[in-house]
């Protein structure tokens, strides 16, 4: 082989790739909060298709490569299946409001607690670690099933997975930080919570996870601050509640989009809400329900010890009522409030039962 052949100088340089561009000449400009995802929604790059045929992982707006083989098993290829209007906004918010369980919690404020209170804290920490495991696992599965054309919603879900992993670690840390440890697993990953992972459809999953499950856990986290015994526990619960409220916002906005854009699926969604109300919001699967490991530990923490169980339980009942009211208002905000007026929902009955 002579030198000329070795250098490839006998071939013309093929720079054909330079002509295969998406929309050119774009100038996305930063807004007050930097160059956000919302700021790059310009021209054709902003247009998420109603139906996606993208099976190759092609970034939305890039020119397709002829003959490229499918690489993703994307079953979520219809926009309404996963879309929400403010995904870009929620994603940026998720990134900018991250926190570290190692350094943003004032762990030095934790002091020894009476045994019964420490056991109750550790039981809740065990339960919440279990629950967050599911809350992280489930969205991650749906990320890989969703077309890259709907990357905004995917990104929010990926941020959620990060949030949930932090929740898992912070409750594990709390259990191990003050002379206690993990308690008996509650089995939260079975029943309604575990059933979230059996959803065959994204909206089914989101109604169970984001709207019902996370809405209920949001109340628990907020309650956590009320029953915290030091600044560290207050910070843990407050920061987790913030993240959870963002996940709930995803669910509400997705349902709102579905209500407006996929009326043919309305009855199906109502049935998901029926299931949720019969499962997560009733006693057995609700951590703030009655007479289970979690509600008993909550009552001990709220009361201030085993001796004050009844007082703690009274507080729990009042907070549980609020949990159900907030759920009802969220479902209404999502566009499915009729169910509370036309007799379909049994929530009113449940609230009456809680009061009794």
């Amino acid at each position: 082989m002579d030198q000329e052949t070795h250098n490839g100088a006998e071939f013309d340089l093929d720079l054909g790739w330079m002509e295969k561009q998406g929309e050119w000449g774009t100038h996305a400009e930063p807004s007050k909060n930097g160059l956000t995802l919302a700021d790059i929604q310009v021209g054709s790059y902003a247009e998420a298709p109603e139906e996606s045929r993208n099976l190759s992982g092609r970034p939305r707006g890039a020119v397709p490569r002829p003959g490229s083989m499918p690489i993703g098993n994307y079953t979520v290829r219809t926009k309404s299946e996963i879309w929400l209007e403010n995904a870009s906004f929620l994603y940026e918010e998720a990134l900018q409001r991250q926190w570290s369980s190692a350094t943003d919690i004032p762990w030095d404020t934790i002091e020894p607690l009476p045994d019964d209170v420490e056991q109750a804290q550790c039981q809740m920490a065990t339960f919440l670690t279990e629950v967050e495991f599911v809350a992280g696992d489930v969205p991650s599965r749906w990320v890989s099933k969703t077309s890259p054309d709907f990357y905004e919603a995917r990104n929010v879900l990926m941020a959620q997975v990060m949030d949930e992993s932090r929740h898992m670690d912070v409750f594990r840390k709390r259990a191990l930080a003050n002379g206690g440890g993990l308690m008996r697993a509650t089995g939260a990953t079975a029943g309604f919570v575990g059933g979230i992972d059996l959803a065959r459809d994204f909206t089914e999953m989101s109604s169970r996870l984001h709207l019902s499950g996370e809405g209920a856990v949001l109340t628990i986290f907020r309650m956590g601050e009320l029953m915290a015994y030091n600044d560290a526990e207050k910070a843990i619960y407050r920061l987790c509640a913030q993240d959870e409220a963002r996940h709930v916002a995803f669910g509400v906005m997705h349902m709102r989009y579905m209500a407006a854009n996929a009326p043919e699926r309305r009855e199906e969604i109502e049935s998901y809400l029926d299931e949720a109300e019969a499962g997560m919001l009733t006693d057995a699967a609700n951590p703030a329900g009655q007479l289970n490991q979690t509600s008993e530990s909550l009552s001990i923490m709220l009361g201030g010890g085993r001796k004050y169980f009844d007082e703690g339980f009274r507080k729990l009942v009042s907070i549980r009522k609020r949990q159900l009211q907030e759920y009802q208002k969220r479902v209404t905000s999502a566009g499915f409030g009729d169910r509370f007026k036309n007799g379909r929902s049994r929530l009113g009955q449940m609230m009456a039962n809680v009061a009794n």
Binding site: N33, M223, L226, L239, A241, Q242, V252
Partner: protein, 147 residues
Amino acid sequence: MNRFLAKFPSVAWFDAVRDVYNKDDAMHGAGSGTCNCVVGVQVGRELFQLTFEGFECSRAEKITKSKLDDCDFYLHMTAKDWRSMLQNIQEHGHATDNFTLNTLDLGRVEGLSASTHNDQYREDLFFRYNQTLQFFFDGSARIKTTF
């Protein structure tokens, strides 16, 4: 340290706290950060509105009752209860025990956060931005408050 002196509640007091909040980078991390909401503050019969945009609290103004509709949520307590909360913050440098916003909301029969529109998505912003709101009011420890 010369601390700004302002009477609570007043626009001047909220402006002084805004100044502390807007200038302290530590209040924009650690679970705080970008925050977009309109918050009402009801102190007895007096009403104020705080606007949070991105990393700053951009405006504080006195409002009438009808303007509460523009607020995503509003925080309501008697003047006496606000005073107790702010004195706790002054004493400890930040809210402790039963004086954090979330604890007040759940611990009081009448709650702390409410809305006129009843839209839970907007009311949930109180939970979603809770650390930011807590940092904001904790910032009052750095001004001298009179009542």
